[in-house]
Amino acid sequence: MTPTAARDYPEPVVRSCSASRLRFVVILLLVAAFYSVSWKLAHVDLGKLATGLPRMASWARKAWPPATGELPVLLLRTAETVAMAAIGTTAAALLALPLCVITARNITPSRLLYYPGRWFLNALRGIDSFVFALLFVAAVGLGPFAGVLGIAFHTWGSTAKLWAEAIENIPPGPLEAAAATGASRLKVLAFALFPDVAPNMVSVGLFWWEFNVRASTVLGVVGAGGIGQELKNSMDLLDFPRLLTIIGLILIMVTVIDHGSQWLRRRLE
């Protein structure tokens, strides 16, 4: 039943020209200015796109049929990319394990470790695996190992940060209860914390593996091995049928890994 109207209830007055409206217009103008400057800085030139697109179309015609002669080698290179991502991500995960304990606010052994830990992670995260790979190619030479190192260092920071956040979201009660039995810190973390965060941690790890498979196709361009290196070679030689085969392989690889990893992550929930 609706209550009958006994009196008018006061409501806030909305004026047509208020300070909030003025603020809205100013923000709109600032956003417009930002985009027009960005457009200039990015050298957006639609005319160039108009002449470039037909060129790409002619490449596409020349690319058919895809070259299959080197398929065994290219498959090996694809496997190399998946392996780089797997080893790099696993190494990153192992390195991240102690660091996520230090940088989770609720379980950090000391504030003196917490802040330097966070800074270190932010530095690792701030430098892309591409940049790390570039440095490691110079340090350890061309090849997939430089790629592995590049992936490992960037993923180390990212994984540890996400894991630390997962740990911070754990309710404190069960940890207190386990600590109250008189158990040591290590036992409490292993028994009461780990089972709660483990599925989340594995899920984060799989996500980064998946991400790194995609990222490592680019690493070949700086000479860090894998299918990306073959991609760059074909592009330099304008060998379009070979290029098409490589792009096809990358698409298949990424799709299979994405679906497999997503299926695994769903099973963990």
């Binding site: 009660g173 069960p174 109250a180 039995t181 008189g182 290590l186 036992k187 028994f191 009461a192 709660d196």
Partner: protein, 257 residues
């Protein structure tokens, strides 16, 4: 038999001159179920935090088995905590582990580290955990995940965890405050039976009638002081009224004399 745990003239003042405890003394013997009653702000939570060594009192002592735990070093306190098991209002079970695994958490302090890391508890520990679950009437739910149990069942698992710890004292801060009446009765009945088996149980409660039904002795707190400490059977309605009275006057003042 003498007291296994006791508070001796505990005093605790927080900043801004809030007196939580003003000389609280009481003790519990093995086999005794002591209910701590009192309105919000009476100092119940501070008292429990002192009893577990989480809060250090300004003065006074908490005596466990003849030793003062308020002035122990950390390692000593950790060892002393093995003798005290805690029951929480929110149960605090590890969600993703089974009931029996949660009971095994009570063994953490007495099991070698490698066994905890590899989750391979010895057969005597596993058997003990199952025995404890049987004691709280949950053997049939031993392998159900903790988050699939009802609130009352989770609290009984927590009691089984306390039993597995082989503690001499069980401290329960508001153990039934978030349970429905039926589950609350089951949980308190379980605590009562545990006490009869020789453990000292100290539980803070909100409902007077539950304290009267299940506890052996009632300690009433008011503004940081003990205003009653007597066998549950000897307390009458008037004494209880006094506990919850406002401004020192009987709560039932509005009713005609």
């Amino acid at each position: 038999m003498g007291a296994v745990i006791g508070a001796e003239r505990l005093t605790k003042t927080y900043r801004l001159d809030v007196t939580a405890l003003a000389g609280v003394s009481f003790s519990a013997r093995p086999g005794e179920f002591v209910a701590v009653l009192g309105p919000s702000g009476a100092g119940k939570t501070t008292l429990f935090r002192c009893l577990t060594g989480l809060t250090r009192p300004d003065a006074g002592a908490v005596v466990l088995d003849g030793r003062d735990i308020c002035h122990m070093r950390r390692t000593e306190l950790r060892a002393a905590r093995r003798d005290i098991a805690l029951i929480f209002q929110q149960f605090n079970l590890i969600r993703r582990l089974t009931a029996v695994q949660n009971v095994l958490a009570g063994r953490l302090a007495s099991v070698p580290t490698w066994r905890v890391l590899s989750r391979r508890f010895a057969r005597p520990d596993r058997q003990l955990a199952l025995r404890c679950l049987d004691a709280v009437g949950l053997l049939d739910r031993a392998h159900a995940r903790a988050d699939q149990l009802s609130g009352g069942q989770q609290q009984r698992v927590a009691i089984a965890r306390a039993l597995a710890q082989e503690a001499k004292v069980i401290l329960a801060d508001e153990p039934v405050a978030s349970l429905d009446p039926e589950s609350a009765a089951t949980v308190l009945d379980t605590l009562h039976r545990v006490a009869k088996a020789g453990v000292a149980v100290v539980a803070s409660l909100h409902q007077v009638h539950l304290a009267m039904t299940y506890a052996d002795r009632i300690v009433a707190l008011r503004a940081g002081r003990v205003i009653a400490d007597a066998p549950a059977a000897s307390l009458d309605a008037r004494a209880i009224e006094q506990i919850y009275a406002k401004n020192g006057e009987p709560a039932a003042r509005s009713s005609p004399p």
